[in-house]
Amino acid sequence: MWGREHPAGRPEGLRTRAGWCGFLILLPPIAALCGVPLSSQAPTYGVGRPPTPDELRALGSAIAPDGTGLPPGAGSVADGRLVFAAQCARCHGPGGEGDIGAKLVGGLGTLRSPKPLKTVGSFWPYATTLWDYVNRAMPFDKPGALTPSEVYAAAAFILNLNGIIGETDVMDARTLPAVRMPNRDGFVPDARPDTGVPSRAAPSAR
């Protein structure tokens, strides 16, 4: 729904438009006349330089729902129990029941109710988002402190608390994106305007 599912590692420019890309390479003047895609524009101002490996490392990971960006490493539910107790329980409660930090468990089946409880388990559509968010933003007071394996472990523990994975499951770059979250199909595109358009608006009293 939101775009191609597996972009990682694909030589996009060559494969997706192979049919006419070659033609453009052979006949650049015609390409110019036909409207040049952004990709073939030469840089105009010449500012900026290629990012250094250090800069790219410093940016850290960003994880796509198909798992693109997940680093090596692995964590079990048992590992995660220890990580959670040491790093997460202070704000989220020993069992993820919530305190200063958000409640992380429960809420399944409440989204249609008058008091919906939106947790990782009941609401989040992708397990990759859990890894990404824990990795980039947690622990709250020292984000970036966890190793990739500790993040996998914390994610495994939270998913297990919600009954989404088993006690013996291990999360890594292969298993995490394959986790099916309960609310995976619960998201729909923006449907506005759903008010305020003349045909549906309340009659004007002017």
């Binding site: 939101w2 775009g3 191609r4 972009p7 996009e12 420019g13 997706t16 438009r17 895609p37 952004l38 990709s39 073939s40 524009q41 840089p43 105009t44 101002y45 500012v47 900026g48 330089r49 290629p50 990012p51 250094t52 800069e55 940016l59 960003a62 994880i63 796509a64 729902p65 198909d66 200063i100 989204l111 008058p114 919906p116 939106k118 989040w124 559509p125 992708y126 990759t128 988002t129 990404d132 980039r136 933003a137 709250f140 984000p143 609310n183 619960g186 998201f187 595109p189 923006d190 449907a191 305007p193 759903d194 008010t195 305020g196 358009v197 003349p198 608006a201 309340a202 009293a205 002017r206």
Partner: protein, 401 residues
């Protein structure tokens, strides 16, 4: 609650006191005798010590993740002073040295590039006056309309932003075919991340570094932020350090778990970026006190994420009849638009509200229409009509659900 935060009220009080010769420190028009010199010149100006308008900061167990609200009841004109711009932070306000800051544009591009602030400042600039509204502004209205305008409608501000069109930077790096999203990440502690459709980035997104004639404030993203005109504040990523071109959105926490709209059927609208037309009367508004019957200028602010405000209609009788307010010109698209209407308060109770219509013909809905369409659990993107009750005694209160 709702007491005396209004300098407007302060001025009314001063006006009432003027007849008694009580102007501050006896330095009124009638002062006699030798005059002492004023203060010397200064290098960076401060507002008058008599001006007291401040942001309201919502109490938070973790102050770094709080939100603060612009005192729009004290706002004059259409620009919000940078110091009073609303705030919403997810990991505190970082201190970033612009000389060390980089923006890395990478992913599905021909030439990944790292830009210094000096690089970006060499590029052609544009300046746009725009409204910026938090996606969660007025969230409380879904369940219980708020008592005063600052806390219920104050996560909105207007600024003049200066920066580089993102489209220009994207042409410098060369977007590869197949890329359709831009993943923007901030340099704050939590590395706030949002997925932005490439179409928007090519249409009118800005890489802004200037706000209201100077470098933007740290709380607004210094030294660099993304500006997506008309879109919810959170998508205007502050402290911008990474733009990653991809073929899919990254389903970040702040676009799935947050800033999404849960509907009564249990499904959730996602990527509902645009802020629909909205308006609110800022004077008279909840918590203010009119000194008595007489002629007043009713005023407020209107805006739309879709363009110009076409008109603002005012009711003085609880929604039975509506009349058009005067709009301050020049009107700018996707910008705060000031409306005004002379109004004689005759000492009888009046229930007042404003209703904005934008250039697309979209009419600001009632709270009831919004609740009918979305229930009361969607939190974000509330833009309902706000009613105030001016009592016979001149006290202004909110109208509850």
């Amino acid at each position: 609650m709702g007491h005396a935060r209004s300098s407007r009220r302060h001025i009314l009080r001063l006006g009432a006191a003027a007849g008694g010769g009580l102007l501050a420190r006896g330095r009124g028009l009638a002062a006699e005798g030798p005059r002492s010199l004023g203060a010397p010149l200064g290098s960076y100006g401060e507002r008058s010590p008599f001006e007291k308008a401040v942001r309201f900061t919502r109490p938070s167990k973790t102050p770094e993740t709080g939100s603060s609200f612009t005192p729009i009841q004290d706002s004059l004109g259409t620009i919000t002073p940078s110091a009073l711009h609303y705030e919403r932070h997810h990991g505190g306000i970082p201190t970033i040295d612009p000389a060390a800051h980089r923006l890395v544009v990478h992913g599905m591009v021909e030439r990944p590039l790292s830009f210094s602030m000096a690089d970006l400042r060499r590029l052609p600039t544009v300046t746009r006056t725009l409204v910026l509204e938090c996606g969660g502004n007025s969230a409380g209205e879904w369940n219980a309309p708020g008592a005063d305008v600052q806390r219920s409608y104050g996560m909105v501000s207007g600024s003049e932003w200066t920066g580089v069109p993102l489209a220009l930077v994207l042409s410098e790096v060369g977007v590869k075919p197949g890329a359709s999203w831009v993943i923007a990440e901030g340099g704050d502690a939590c590395r706030m991340m949002r997925s932005i459709p490439l179409d928007k980035a090519l249409q009118d997104s800005l890489l802004a570094y200037g706000q209201n004639g100077e470098a933007m404030r740290p709380a607004q993203g210094y030294p660099l932020r993304l500006i997506n005109p008309g879109w919810e504040g959170n998508a205007n990523v502050k402290w911008l350090q990474s733009l990653r071109l991809t073929a899919q959105p990254y389903m970040a926490r702040d676009e799935t778990s947050k800033y999404s709209d849960l509907m009564p059927d249990g499904r959730t609208r996602i990527f509902s970026f645009m802020m629909e037309a909205k308006s609110v009367i800022t004077f008279p508004s909840g918590g203010q006190q009119l000194p008595g019957p007489g002629l007043y200028e009713l005023t407020g602010l209107a805006w739309s994420g879709q363009g110009f405000i076409d008109r603002v209609e005012i009711t003085l009788d609880g929604g039975r009849t509506w009349q058009q307010a005067t709009l301050q010109e020049p009107r700018l698209p996707i910008a705060l638009t000031r409306f005004r209407l002379p109004w004689r308060f005759d000492g009888h109770e009046a229930v007042i509200a404003s209703r904005a219509v934008d250039e697309t013909g979209y009419v600001q809905p009632t709270r009831e229409a919004l609740v009918a369409a979305r229930g009361t659990n969607s939190i974000y993107h509330y833009n309902g009509i706000k009613f105030w009750r001016v009592g016979a005694d001149g006290a202004v209160t909110h109208v509850g659900a």
